[in-house]
C-alpha cells in the first residue's frame, strides 16, 4: 500500500559531549609566525578563563560522521514533497549556493572601501530594481533579515510617515486569518492590535473595515492571497477605504508565490509589503533560517527607509547615510547579502517569463490537489484557491482522527506533513502548499497517500492516531519537554 518508502537503517549517534575524549582534535593551526603572548599579562589575571568546561574534543573523522549521521535523521525538500502551507518549500537551486561562495562576494567585508565593494553593491541595486518591478512598488530596502523583521520595518515606515503628518495613530488592524507575526509585529512597533473577523467566505470583511477605520487606525496588515490561499477580491476597495481615512495598507508578502508575474501589490493599492526571499525566491530554509525580508514601498514611504541607502554617485554606487527622515537602522550593515545573492541568481535563472510560469505551475498544483482531494476531505471555504488549499479534518474527526494525526501518518507515506491547525479560522486545518517544484508523479503519490489515510481514518482510526511507525523517532513527548525543560546537556544525567 505504501509504495513511496521502505525502511532503511540509520546509525545511532551520541551527542558530541558523549563522544568526546580528552586530547582528540579535528584542527591544526598554522605555526605562529609571531612571538606568543602571555594571556595573563595581556588581559589581566581575572579575565583569563581556565578552560571551557564540557566543550567537545573529537577527531575530524568523528566530527564528519557525527553531523552526517544527524543529517540522515532529517527530512528535506531534496527528499521529496514538503507541502507546508504558508512556507513555500520549493527547490533550492544549487547554483545559488555556488555563487554565494565566490570568494570576492563571500569574503567581502562590510566596511571595505566602497570602491572595492562595487560588485556587492551592484548585486544589491539590481535585486532592488527587480523586486520593485515584480511588486509594482517604487523603492525597496534589502536590510531586513527575515519576514517578521520586514514586517516590523514596514510598520515602522508607516508609523514614521503618519508621525510626519502629525499623528502616528494607535491601532493596527489584522484579520483573524493572519500569521501570528503580524499582531506580534504591530505590538513591537508600539501599536494596539484589533482583529477583524473574516466573512463567511473567508475573505476580508470590507463592510466591517468601513465601520472600523477611523482616525486611530494606522494601517491594515493583510496577507494576499490570504492564508486560505484565496485572493482578496476586494483588496483595492480596502485600500480606498483606508486611504480615505489617511490609513495605509500593509501586505504580508508571504504568499507572493501565487502572484509573481500575474498581479502586483503596487497595482492593487498596497503601500508597503515585505517579501520572503526564502519562500518565493528559493533561498534555502536551512532548518529555520537564514532568510531575508526586503520591504517594498510606494514613493510616499521612500524617505523613511532604513539607512544606509544605495545611491548612484557618478559611475559608482555609494552608501547614503544622510537621510534625516529615515527610521534608522533595523540591523547592522546592509542586510543578509549572501541570501540576496541567491535570490538574484534565482530571478536571473527564471527571467520574467520563467517566473510567471513558476507561478502558473504553483497555482495549478494546488488547484489539482484540491480537485482530487475534495471528495475525501472537507473544504470549509469554497472560493477559488491559488497557490495553496486549506481543508479541515471535519470528516475524519467524526472517527476521532484529527489533523495532527493525519499529518503524522503522512510521514509514514514518505512525505513531510502539511501545515497543521493553521489558519486559526479553520477548525482542524490541513494547509497544503505544493509549490511549482512538484511534478505530476510526486503530486499523484501524495494525493494517493492522502486518500489512503482518509480511508484508514474510517476503517482503522487507531492506526492513524498512533502514527508514525516508520520513523526512527516515534511520537515525541512534547508535554514532558515543556513541563521540565532540559535545554542543554548536563553531563551524565542526559
Amino acid at each position: 500500500m505504501i509504495h513511496n518508502v521502505r525502511t532503511h537503517i540509520s546509525q545511532n549517534e551520541a551527542l558530541l559531549f558523549e563522544r568526546s575524549s580528552p586530547g582528540k582534535r579535528a584542527y591544526q593551526l598554522p605555526e605562529l609566525d609571531v612571538p606568543p603572548v602571555d594571556a595573563l599579562a595581556a588581559l589581566g589575571a581575572g579575565n583569563v578563563r581556565a578552560g571551557i568546561d564540557g566543550f567537545p574534543e573529537v577527531s575530524e573523522v568523528e566530527a564528519i560522521r557525527h553531523f552526517t549521521r544527524l543529517s540522515t535523521w532529517n527530512y528535506a525538500i531534496d527528499h521529496g514533497m514538503y507541502p507546508l502551507g504558508s512556507c513555500t518549500m520549493k527547490y533550492n537551486p544549487r547554483v545559488n549556493e555556488l555563487v554565494a561562495r565566490i570568494e570576492g562576494l563571500a569574503w567581502a567585508h562590510p566596511y571595505q572601501p566602497e570602491a572595492l565593494a562595487q560588485g556587492s553593491m551592484e548585486v544589491m541595486a539590481r535585486l532592488e530594481a527587480m523586486l520593485a518591478e515584480i511588486t509594482g512598488m517604487d523603492a525597496v530596502t534589502l536590510q531586513p533579515s527575515a519576514g517578521a523583521h520586514g514586517e516590523l520595518t514596514g510598520i515602522l515606515l508607516i508609523r514614521a510617515l503618519l508621525e510626519k503628518r502629525g499623528d502616528p495613530r494607535k491601532k493596527i488592524l489584522v484579520p483573524d486569518s493572519a500569521h501570528g507575526t503580524n499582531p506580534a509585529t504591530a505590538a513591537i512597533a508600539g501599536y494596539a492590535v484589533e482583529n477583524i473577523k473574516s466573512t463567511e467566505t473567508g475573505l476580508l470583511d470590507v463592510s466591517a473595515l468601513e465601520r472600523i477605520v477611523d482616525q486611530d487606525v494606522a494601517a491594515l496588515m493583510v496577507t494576499n492571497p490570504n492564508t486560505l490561499g484565496v485572493f482578496e477580491e476586494n483588496i483595492a476597495r480596502a485600500a480606498e477605504i483606508l486611504h480615505a481615512k489617511g490609513a495605509m495598507l500593509y501586505m504580508d508578502g508571504a504568499n507572493m508565490n501565487a502572484l509573481v508575474g500575474i498581479a502586483r501589490p503596487g497595482d492593487f493599492g498596497v503601500d508597503a509589503l515585505h517579501l520572503n526571499l526564502h519562500k518565493t525566491f528559493s533561498t534555502p530554509h536551512g532548518g529555520g533560517g537564514p532568510g531575508a525580508g526586503p520591504v517594498a514601498v510606494k514613493k510616499a514611504l521612500e524617505p523613511f527607509l532604513p539607512v544606509p541607502r544605495l545611491k548612484r554617485s557618478g559611475k559608482r554606487w555609494a552608501w547614503d547615510y544622510k537621510r534625516k527622515r529615515s527610521i534608522g537602522r533595523v540591523r547592522a550593515f546592509y542586510g543578509n547579502f549572501g541570501v540576496l545573492v541567491r535570490a538574484l541568481a534565482y530571478i536571473l535563472a527564471h527571467g520574467g517569463p520563467g517566473l510567471r510560469n513558476a507561478t502558473v505551475d504553483a497555482v495549478m498544483n494546488a488547484v489539482y490537489i484540491r480537485k482530487r482531494l475534495e471528495p475525501y476531505y472537507d473544504l470549509p471555504y469554497g472560493s477559488p484557491n491559488m497557490h495553496e488549499v486549506v481543508f479541515s479534518d471535519a470528516r475524519q474527526a467524526a472517527h476521532g482522527v484529527r489533523t495532527g494525526d493525519i499529518a503524522k501518518r503522512l510521514i509514514d507515506y514518505g512525505f513531510h506533513p502539511y501545515t497543521v491547525s493553521f489558519p486559526l479560522i479553520v477548525h482542524g486545518a490541513l494547509m497544503i502548499e505544493p509549490t511549482e517544484t512538484e511534478g505530476k508523479a510526486e503530486l499523484d503519490s501524495f494525493i494517493d497517500a492522502m486518500i489512503s489515510i482518509a480511508k484508514e481514518a474510517e476503517t482503522d482510526p487507531q492506526l492513524v492516531k498512533n502514527a508514525p511507525y516508520n520513523t526512527r523517532t516515534s511520537r515525541v513527548d512534547e508535554v514532558s519537554a515543556a513541563r521540565k525543560p532540559v535545554l542543554r546537556w548536563k553531563g551524565g544525567e542526559g
Binding site: 595581556a42 531534496d78 518591478e133 485572493f231 505530476k440 515543556a482
Partner: protein, 441 residues
C-alpha cells in the same frame, strides 16, 4: 525551465483533471484591475554558466587579493572545510523549521548541541537557538530586561558597537523605551563607571556593555554589573568577536549575554547572514525570545529533541509574544556548531591565543591609543595624516587598513581601529606598520 519539472503533456493532463482548458483560467477569478496586463520587464532566463559568470564578474569588482585589517563586528577567520561539507548537505540545507520532531531530529540535535556549547562558552544556563544577528539581539535583550524588571529604561555604553546602538534606538523609540548613553574613559577605552553611576536610577532596566568593546578593549564588566545590580537593573553583556570567548573568563555578573557568532566560520559576506544569540540564567527562561530546543523522549523511550516553551512565541501568543521573531538562523548556527566541534576545547583556546599574539605583535609596532588590555583589535592614533589618507596609501600596497573611527566617534577622527587574526600574515603586518608607523604615535 529547468527548475520546473512538468512536461507539457503532464500540464495538459492536470488541466483536464481541473476542468480548465488554459492556464489563464486559474486566474480568471482575479479582479481585472488587479491583474498585471503585461509581461514583467525582466530579462529572459539565463543558463547556469551565465549565472556563474555574472556573479564572478561582480566578485571581480570587489576587493580581491588584498590583506585586510578590518574587524569592527565582522572578522576574518579561517573557515574549516568541514563547515561547508556539513552545511551543504541537502538534509540540513533544504529542510524547514523542525516543527515535525519525528523527521527533524538531525537539526534538533544539532541545535541542542549548539545551545549547550553557547552555555559552556558564556557561562549561562540557557541559550536560544539563535537570533538574526548580534545587532538585533541587543534590542531583544533590552526588551527582555524590561519585562523581567518591570522597568523601562536602558543605559548603553558608547563603547558598544555603534551600529548595534543604532538598531537599539530604532526599536526602543517605538517601544517607548528611553535609552541613554554613558561614556568611556579617554585614556583606557574602558567604561566610564562614574558616568554610569550618575545616570543609573531606579527606572533603569538594563545596563548594556560590550566586551571586548568596540575598541577591542576587555572591559570592566564586573564593576558595571555591580553598579547595575545595586540599582535593580540587569546587566546585558554584548560580544561581537566570539573567538574571544575561547580565552576570556565568562562574566558571572551578566544576567543576559547577547552576541554575534560571525567569527565561528560564517563568511563576512558583506555583512550577512550572520547569527546572534541570547543566553541567560535559568530563572529568566520564560522571557527569552526566539526558539528553544529541549530534550525529551519518544513513545518508545528513546532520547529525542523538540522545540519547546513555544508559548512565548508569536505563532501562539501573537501580539503578546516575547518577540515577533519567527526564524532563527538554523543553518548559520549549524555552521557555528561544526566550527566549535572542529576546534573543540583545546583548539578554540589555541585559536584565541594566536589572535592575541598577532594583534599584540602588530600593536607592538604601533602604539595603541587606549591603555586597556585588548584581544585582537585596538585603536591607533595617526599623526600627520588622517586615517582616510593613510588607508589610501595602504590600498596602493594591496592592504585594506583599519576602520576610521571618526565616522562613529567625532572625538576619535584621528584614529583607526585595526584587527589582526590568525589569518593576518606577518609580512602584511610589517608592511602595514611600516606605512602607518610613519604616521602613528
Amino acid at each position: 525551465m529547468r527548475y520546473l519539472p512538468k512536461s507539457d503533456s503532464e500540464r495538459r493532463a492536470m488541466m483536464d483533471a481541473c476542468g480548465i482548458d488554459s492556464p489563464e483560467a486559474l486566474f480568471a477569478h482575479l479582479p481585472a484591475a488587479a491583474r498585471l496586463g503585461r509581461a514583467l520587464e525582466l530579462p529572459a532566463g539565463i543558463s547556469e554558466y551565465e549565472i556563474v559568470d555574472y556573479f564572478r564578474r561582480r566578485a571581480a569588482e570587489n576587493a580581491n587579493g588584498y590583506a585586510s585589517f578590518l574587524g569592527a563586528g565582522a572578522y576574518n577567520h579561517f573557515r574549516p572545510v568541514l563547515v561547508d561539507a556539513v552545511a551543504s548537505r541537502g538534509e540540513f540545507l533544504t529542510s524547514y523549521t523542525p516543527y515535525q520532531a519525528e523527521i527533524s531530529q538531525g537539526v534538533l540535535t544539532a541545535i541542542f548541541e549548539f545551545q549547550t556549547m553557547i552555555c559552556q562558552l558564556t557561562g549561562m544556563d540557557v541559550a536560544n537557538a539563535s537570533m538574526y544577528d548580534g545587532s538585533t539581539a541587543v534590542p531583544e535583550a533590552a526588551m527582555m530586561a524590561a519585562r523581567l524588571t518591570g522597568k523601562g529604561k536602558a543605559l548603553v555604553a558608547r563603547s558598544v558597537h555603534p551600529e548595534y546602538r543604532e538598531v537599539l534606538y530604532t526599536y526602543a523609540k517605538n517601544q517607548g523605551m528611553p535609552v541613554e548613553e554613558f561614556g568611556y574613559v579617554p585614556e583606557t577605552g574602558t567604561l566610564d563607571l562614574e558616568d554610569l553611576e550618575r545616570k543609573i536610577d531606579g527606572l533603569t532596566a538594563a545596563v548594556i556593555v560590550q566586551s571586548p568593546n568596540f575598541f577591542g578593549v576587555v572591559d570592566q564588566v564586573k564593576a558595571a554589573g555591580e553598579i547595575a545590580h545595586r540599582s535593580g537593573a540587569l546587566l546585558v553583556l554584548i560580544f561581537t568577536e566570539a573567538v574571544s570567548l575561547g580565552i576570556l573568563e565568562p562574566q558571572a555578573e551578566a544576567d543576559i549575554v547577547a552576541g554575534e557568532l560571525q567569527s565561528f566560520a560564517i563568511s563576512p559576506s558583506y555583512g550577512g547572514p550572520f547569527a546572534g544569540i541570547i543566553a541567560t540564567r535559568e530563572k529568566h527562561v520564560r522571557q527569552i525570545p526566539g526558539r528553544l530546543v529541549g530534550q525529551t523522549t519518544d513513545s518508545r523511550g528513546n532520547r529525542a529533541f523538540c522545540l519547546t516553551l513555544s508559548t512565548r512565541e508569536q505563532h501562539i501568543r501573537r501580539e503578546r509574544a516575547t518577540s515577533n521573531i519567527c526564524t532563527n538562523q538554523a543553518l548559520i548556527a549549524l555552521m557555528a556548531t561544526v566550527f566549535m566541534t572542529v576546534y573543540g576545547k583545546q583548539g578554540l583556546r589555541e585559536l584565541a591565543e594566536q589572535n592575541l599574539a598577532k594583534a599584540h605583535y602588530l600593536a607592538g609596532k604601533l602604539k595603541p591609543r587606549f591603555a586597556g588590555g585588548f584581544f585582537n583589535e585596538f585603536a591607533v592614533r595617526l599623526q600627520g595624516k588622517t586615517p582616510e589618507e593613510a588607508n589610501k596609501s595602504l590600498l596602493k600596497k594591496k592592504i585594506v587598513g583599519g576602520l576610521p573611527l571618526g565616522r562613529f566617534y567625532p572625538e576619535l577622527s584621528d584614529s583607526m581601529l585595526l584587527c589582526a587574526t590568525e589569518m593576518s600574515r606577518r609580512p602584511d603586518m610589517d608592511a602595514l606598520s611600516e606605512i602607518l608607523g610613519l604616521a602613528a604615535r
